[in-house]
Structures are given as C-alpha cells and as structure tokens.
C-alpha cells in the first residue's frame, strides 16, 4: 500500500499526515470551525437531514421501500397509481395546483437504501432524487431502532424547468422556487415518518396496513443485531 504514496504526493492540495502534521491540522480545524453557518452554505447545494426512529430498521426499510408509504408520511404527495411503465407511479403533489408527480422507487435491501426518483409534470426524466438510507441504530447509537439519513442534491432543473411544455396551465409555482424551504419541509416529513412508524411499532400494528397479504412476518426477514 505504501508504494502508492509517492504517486499521491504529485496530486496538489492533498492534506495527509505525511506532509500536513498534527499542529497544522489542529490549526486548520480551529479555523474551519464556526459557531454558526449560513443556511445557504449548509443547505444551498445539498440538503441532508437525519433522524432517529424507534422502530426496527428492517421495518423502516420495508415501509420506505414501498412507494405507497409516500401517501402517508409526505406532506403533500397523494393518490399514487401505477402507470403503464413497470415500477413507475403517478400521483399528485398538492403542494401546487394540478401538479402530477411521477416516482420510481429504487431500493437495495442489503444496503437499506431507498431512492425515490421523481419529477413533477412528466415521467420521462426523473431528476428530483430523494436519497434515503436506513441505518441500524444499534450499530451507530448503541440502542434499538433506526437512523434515517435523507439527502437531496440541488439539480440545475430546480433553477429552471427544462420541460415547460409539461406545466399545467395557470400554475406559477416551480418546485425549485422552494429549494430554500427543503430543509424545513423535509424535517416536517421526517417527523411524520417518525411518528407513524413509532406509533405502529409501539402499538404492535402492522407497519404497512395497506399490504394485507404480507403482514409483519415478511417484514422481519432481515435482522440487524
């Protein structure tokens, strides 16, 4: 491994302990640690939030991985129906008038990641991507339950809608105008997610009540201890 180090030294700007010692690192850390950070600096390019949910990680993952759950925990997306394209759902985002939202849910059970690939108005280019990851809280917080990480990236389409033909007549709102409120809005939705899942887990109810055939047994096929 050490044979690679000389090659790294030709890359400008790397800060590694071989050339950037403890005192330099300590000074840099002090310099870069502020008491407060402007909202734009923290949430301008990316918006990441996180929350602890007192519900087993496999249940949280199963719930999120089933796109129908969006109708419960999001503030405004409702009435999803399948489209002709397999895996692609179409619903309505009541955030704005007459606004369709398309969503494809792509999940990975091993990594417990759930990505919602979405777009307003049209379903051909799903560029609004909600990246979620469920982490067993036992691993990272030393207690039962889940940690949910949720990130969005500021795609240029938030700034300018490249599909103006798809906008319903009379709608002035564009989703990107609300990027500045994504942190606040997503915190609201994360709290919905937390309250729903913690309630169902605490009261022993099935996590996905619309999924009559599956039941809780199949939801507990994975264990994380």
């Amino acid at each position: 491994m050490s044979s690679y180090v000389p090659e790294l030294s030709s890359i400008e700007g790397l800060k590694r302990i071989e050339e950037f010692d403890r005192d330099q690192m300590a000074g840099l850390c002090l310099e870069e640690t502020h008491a407060v950070y402007p909202h734009q600096q923290i949430y301008g390019k990316y918006c990441t939030i996180e929350e602890y949910i007192n519900c087993p990680p496999e249940d949280v993952f199963q719930y999120l991985a089933d796109g129908r759950s969006l109708e419960e925990w999001t503030w405004s997306t409702r009435d999803f129906v399948p489209t002709d394209e397999p895996g692609l759902m179409m619903g309505w985002d009541r955030l704005a008038d007459d606004t369709k939202i398309y969503c494809r849910t792509i999940s990975n059970a091993d990594a417990m990641t759930v990505d919602y690939h979405c777009a307003w108005d049209q379903g051909e280019h799903l560029w609004m991507i909600y990246l979620m990851r469920v982490v067993p809280a036992q691993l990272v917080l030393g207690k039962p339950g889940s940690v949910v990480l949720w990130s969005n990236c500021h795609h240029p389409n938030y700034d300018e809608n490249p599909y103006p033909w798809s906008v319903p007549e009379g709608r002035d709102t564009w989703v990107g105008q609300l990027w500045h409120f994504f942190y606040a809005g997503h915190v609201v939705e994360m709290q919905n997610l937390k309250k729903i899942l913690e309630h169902r887990h605490a009261t022993g109810q099935t996590i996905r009540p619309w999924n009559k055939s599956a039941g809780s047994e199949s939801e507990k096929t994975m264990t994380f201890q």
């Binding site: 000074g27 850390c29 002090l30 502020h34 008491a35």
Partner: protein
C-alpha cells in the same frame, strides 16, 4: 437593584513587548489557528506588580473625572490572574497606594475572562445593600510575563497567546451610562477542565527546576472551542432578551479576547459586523479578565460608544466554567 453607571475606564501596560518570534521552537513559530492575527503582547517585567499597573490606570481615571477620587472610593474589587502575593490579594495595597479608605475590598480569585462583568455585578449588589456610591473594579493579567516568558515554556505553542495588561473601571451610582442588565452563569460541569501542568509532574506549588503552565491538549482545545462557540452567543442573547433589546440593537460588542477565531465566530453568531466588534488581540494577545476594560477604552478612543447606543459585553472563562454578559446603554450628551 440600585442603578449603576460605567463612569470611566483606563488602562496600563508593562513596558516589555514581545513579538511572535520570541515564542515557539526554532523554525516553528506560532501561526494560524488560535495564533491567527497575533503580533505583539506585553509581558510583566521582573519585580513589576499588579498594584503598580492598577495605580497607573487609576491615576488616568482621576485625570478624566477630576475631584478627589481616592477619598470617594467606597469599593475596590480586583481580579489578578497570577497575584503579586498568594494569600493576601492586592486590593488593600491598592487602597494604600491610592490613599483610599474603602468600606469594601474584595480580591476575586475566580471568573477569569468574565471577571470584569462579575465584579460589576458584585459592585452593584454592594451598592444596593450599603451606602457605597463609587467602586473601582480592577483587572490585571500577569501570567504572560510571569509564566509564559520562561525560556522552556515559551517553546509551547500556547505561550504566544497570553498578553499582560491592566484595565480599571470606575462604577458609580447613577444613570449617566447605565448598566442595564447583567447575566452571570456558572457551568460547574466544566470546572475541572483547566489544568496547571509541570514538566516533571510535581504539584505546581512544590519546588522544582521547571516552570508550571496551563495545559491544553488537542482534545481539550476541541471541547473548549465547542463550548466557547456556544456559550458566548447564548449568554449575550439571554442578556439582550432580558434587557428587552434585540441583538440587532448591539451597537458595540466587546468580548473576551482568547483568539481571533472565537471573535469571528461570536460576531457571526450574533450577526455583528467586524467594525462593531472591538479586537485588540493582535497587539495585546489574550488579556484574560483585563480584555474587556481594555476594549472599552479602545472603543471610547475610536468614538464607537455613541449616544443612544448599546455597548454589550459577553464572554466565557477558563474552559467554560463561567459565562457572563452585560448591557450598557450609552446616552447622548445632554
């Protein structure tokens, strides 16, 4: 509580000034981080006393206010970081040198960098419960010359930070420049985090061949940075709220002066501009408790304390064991 005013402030400094290259190891002078912006600092000279500096500053106050100040001083409060003498403190000696006959003399050992505010609060309490009308509050930082100039200790990176100096304020009953509100807090959970260390591990008061010093490990620095970043904006917010003003009404902000990173962080957190925040770090280093009165004098000299504006003081001490803030209203000339 009886209304008190910040009547006058003056300072005094030792003659010896040390530049950055006095410190550190050969080839590794302090730079960046907590040393950012440091250029000079005063060092107490051998044989020089805190009493000398207090009397020099008080003489300047006498010249500002006229009259016979010594005969009118009812209270003398001092905070000296490393006292001239253990046991006694220096308040009585100050009274002797000034020819004053105060009814109260207290040498405060605690509160460090916020002791100026704590002493204002104590003076107000004493004035409220007695016939005392005038108080001298005296801050002297002495550790730079007395500890950190040692030829071994000055090789440590933190030795360039402290600077010696003295600030004295005259408080009096009245509303000429009223102290509107004071908040003082103690966080006992942080009380054991500042250590006096010795190179040979002995207790600092035991005889030995090497100087003792204040120890900051990297882990401690990270914890203290986090505390300082949080405590000072919080206590200033609290003082402003309780005084009925918004932080956007801060005219001049004066904090303790541990380093320029803290100063930057505090004004960012309080949304106070750089020009509103007094900064003496580059020429004086960390003056500990003397920082606030020294900065008040600087603000006066620069014409910052305009009529109908609020002077807000805030800070934390040591490793976060105390925090305090004060709101002072500067009135327009009648």
């Amino acid at each position: 509580m009886i209304g008190i005013s910040l009547k006058a402030v003056a300072t005094a400094f030792p003659e010896t000034v040390q530049p950055n290259d006095f410190f550190g190891m050969e080839g590794s002078r302090p730079q960046g981080g907590m040393f950012r912006g440091s250029e000079y600092r005063h060092h107490m000279d051998p044989g020089q006393s805190a009493v000398d500096l207090i009397c020099e500053a008080t003489q300047k106050i006498q010249e500002q206010v006229g009259g016979d100040l010594a005969s009118e001083i009812d209270i003398i409060l001092t905070n000296v970081s490393l006292p001239d003498l253990p046991f006694t403190g220096c308040g009585a000696e100050v009274a002797k040198e000034l020819g004053a006959k105060p009814m109260w003399v207290y040498d405060l050992h605690s509160q460090g960098c916020v002791s100026f505010i704590s002493m204002m609060s104590l003076a107000q309490s004493l004035m409220t419960t007695s016939s005392a009308r005038k108080a001298l509050i005296c801050n002297v930082q002495t550790t730079a010359g007395r500890i950190f100039s040692d030829e071994q200790i000055r090789k440590l990176p933190q030795s360039a930070v402290p600077g010696d100096g003295c600030g004295v304020a005259l408080l009096e009953v009245g509303d000429e420049r009223p102290v509107e509100h004071i908040v003082t807090q103690c966080f006992s959970e942080n009380a054991s985090d500042m250590e006096i260390a010795t190179q040979d591990g002995r207790d600092w008061w035991l005889p030995g061949k090497t100087q003792f010093f204040v120890n900051f490990s990297r882990e401690k620095v990270a914890a203290v940075v986090a505390r300082g970043n949080r405590l000072v904006p919080e206590v200033v917010h609290q003082a402003c709220t309780e005084a009925g003003i918004g932080t956007d009404q801060i005219g001049t902000l004066i904090t303790n002066q541990p380093n320029q990173i803290f100063l930057r962080n505090w004004r960012e957190a309080l949304q106070v501009s750089e020009s509103q925040h007094v900064d003496t770090f580059s020429e004086h280093g960390n003056l500990f408790g003397a920082g606030m009165p020294v900065c008040i004098e600087r603000a006066e000299q620069e014409g910052k304390l305009k009529g109908d504006s609020y002077l807000v003081l805030g800070g934390f001490s040591h490793a976060g064991d105390y925090a305090a803030a004060a709101i002072i209203r500067c009135k327009a000339a009648a």
